[in-house]
Symmetry: C2
Subunit: 388 residues, 2 copies
């Protein structure tokens, strides 16, 4: 194979952006051969946008055409696992948009189908391409920061006005999206959190507020507290109504502290680890010697194009995936645990009862205002260049 022939499932906001990138030659070794969408208006629009590309009404028809080696799943959140499973069954590689799905139970089935197919499986965690977070991960995995003790992520800069929520009847509903800021805006951070530090929490106690300062069903204000097997703790705070919000990630280890804020990384490096200092220090108010290290600018992030290039290279040349699809479940487990802790007003130990989570989610879907018979989205994509 010299080129990967791509089909896009769903040409809404994100799907059409990815289609455009491939169509215009943005990904080496990739070509856009097909798209599919259930809405006639969108299919018509797609024909005009990408002349020569086959346009299908259904995923099944596109997969049966033999025109595609790989698909990008960019349909509504709930359908990601279902669409991916169809593609794996047809022997096609899958790059799934975030979130991996809405509930863990469903995503496990997708992961099983992927494993059984032997096909390449990636997830659009484009923030894993961000050199800042890559560097953080490297500084941790190499031991520079020492054993992790604390993470505080204040990620409250997901401002969304009521006009945003009103722009699609499916938005911010239990039946349309299955969650709010955790499912729509935060999947990247919920992935980066365990990915950079290399640890999943062992238990979570979380506090969601639903429809805060907004007329919506789902959570848009979240404070979550996490504990880890080694005794470390963490806090994750997010909101869509704070203005202006903050994006500040602080990670403390036995050998210092790293802060990422305003696109810059600062490493306060201890000359001697805290554990060693504490064991030998005899001065009551003594403190370890600390050096402020400004980590050089790591350059721009290749974002979505970077993930698509890496995924294409994995298919063509066996390159290692930066965002393996199977790892999509990690951030979702945290997201699900945060919901479940709020709903049960109690701790959630990981692994948690995924059936119970699904039952609780189903109750909320049952009383949701959104009905799937309504139009799923505005007919034409809007400019999402400022979003992820």
């Amino acid at each position: 194979m010299s080129k990967v022939r791509y089909g896009i499932i769903g040409v809404g906001n994100m799907g059409s952006a990815h289609a455009g990138t491939i169509f215009h030659g943005g990904i080496k070794g990739a070509e856009l051969t097909a798209v599919c969408d259930g809405l006639p208006d969108k299919r018509e629009w797609a024909r005009q946008q990408w002349p020569g590309v086959a346009v299908f009404e259904s995923t099944e028809a596109m997969l049966a055409s033999g025109l595609v080696d790989a698909v990008i799943v960019a349909s509504p959140h709930y359908s990601h696992p279902e669409e991916a499973i169809k593609a794996f069954s047809a022997g096609v590689h899958v790059l799934v948009e975030k979130p991996a799905g809405v509930y863990a139970k469903q995503v496990r089935e997708m992961n099983e189908a992927a494993a059984a197919s032997g096909k390449t499986f990636g997830i659009m965690y484009n923030q894993r391409m961000n050199p800042l977070y890559r560097k953080l991960r490297e500084l941790i995995s190499s031991g520079e920061l020492g054993e992790i003790r604390r993470t505080n992520w204040i990620i409250t800069n997901w401002y969304r006005s009521q006009a945003y929520y009103d722009s699609g009847s499916w938005r911010a509903t239990w039946s349309g999206e299955g969650g709010g800021v955790l499912i729509n805006q935060c999947p990247h951070q919920l992935d980066l959190w365990p990915w950079t530090i290399g640890m999943m929490p062992t238990r979570i106690r979380a506090f969601c507020q639903f429809g805060k300062h907004r007329n919506i069903e789902v959570e848009n204000d979240v404070t979550a507290y996490a504990e880890y097997a080694n005794g470390a703790t963490g806090v994750f705070i997010t909101s869509t109504s704070d203005a202006p919000g903050t994006n500040r990630l602080e990670v403390t280890g036995d050998r210092g502290k790293i802060v990422i804020e305003d696109g810059k990384m600062t490493f306060w490096r201890l000359r001697q680890s805290e554990t060693e200092f504490n064991a030998s220090n005899k001065i009551p108010f003594g403190t370890p010697e600390v050096w402020k290290v400004e980590i050089p600018d790591q350059g721009p992030s290749p974002e979505h194009a970077g993930i698509m290039q890496n995924f294409t290279d994995a298919i063509l040349h066996g390159s290692e995936l930066i965002a393996p699809g199977e790892e999509g479940i990690n951030g979702l487990l945290i997201s699900n645990a945060i919901h479940l802790s709020t709903w049960t007003d109690d701790w959630v130990e990981l692994p948690f009862d995924e059936e119970l989570h699904y039952e609780e989610l189903s109750k909320r879907i049952a009383s949701s205002t959104f009905r799937k018979s309504e139009p799923a989205a505005p007919a034409m994509p809007v400019d999402l260049s400022r979003t992820f």
Copy 2:
């Protein structure tokens, strides 16, 4: 009265510092006439330090001497209310060191004695003199920041090594101090938190870790989540084993965000309040216009001397107290609620059951390693110029 004659109860680390300030003429309208301490070595040392100042073995003897108009209570934490009550009964003004006491029940009795006496009652909340926090309070009370929505205080720079904890057998024990970072290091922040925003939490869910990376009984790592009557939320994170720690206070309101970090205050001011913007905005990804305002340097803090001067001026000239003693209970209620939430592994609604808190504390005192018969502290004060 042209001068307030001061007596110091306890010439340990803080008491001797305050005595020195007054003795050397640091407070206008104040003179040091007496000190008292139960330890013979300290009394001998005091006679050498402050010639001409009367030295007593007991509070009772000092109060009976008629030599003092006001006392500064700088004895061990537990005894603050008891010593203050003695002084009020003798018709003497009281400036009490922080914390006001160790448990709320006990501090209420002190407040009642103060009210009954009609004497001036202050608390050594020297951080209320810090122009940064005074400015924050002013920007909030004047409405510049709008209604408060969120506070995040990461105050993890209370580094204390094992050598510190080993420097006094009473340190970091339930019977000696009645708590750890919440009782010894954080009282200022626990006071400033409600004082600056003008709100007390309605309920708290907190997570203390006891003896984290240190061989001590009490909490030295805390994450607390707070909710307020208006729907606002807050997080308070503190530690004595993070190196280097952080001191970053972020307050978000309807009209923007203020961050105090590294001794600087930045105000991100919305041109129009978030509520107004949200109500009128029609652009799905629209965000409110925000101006970054660098609040001018507010100058140095007069710290403890500022509190002592204000307290003296209140006695002599009726000046308004910056830190009224009665308000000492606010931070302590938060501190007690954080302990209680951890001990019961549940929410604590404020006001909480103070008897239950005291019962739980008493259990820990009963099994504490420290026995009050042991020497209470090192004989000579150590240099505390770098602490508060």
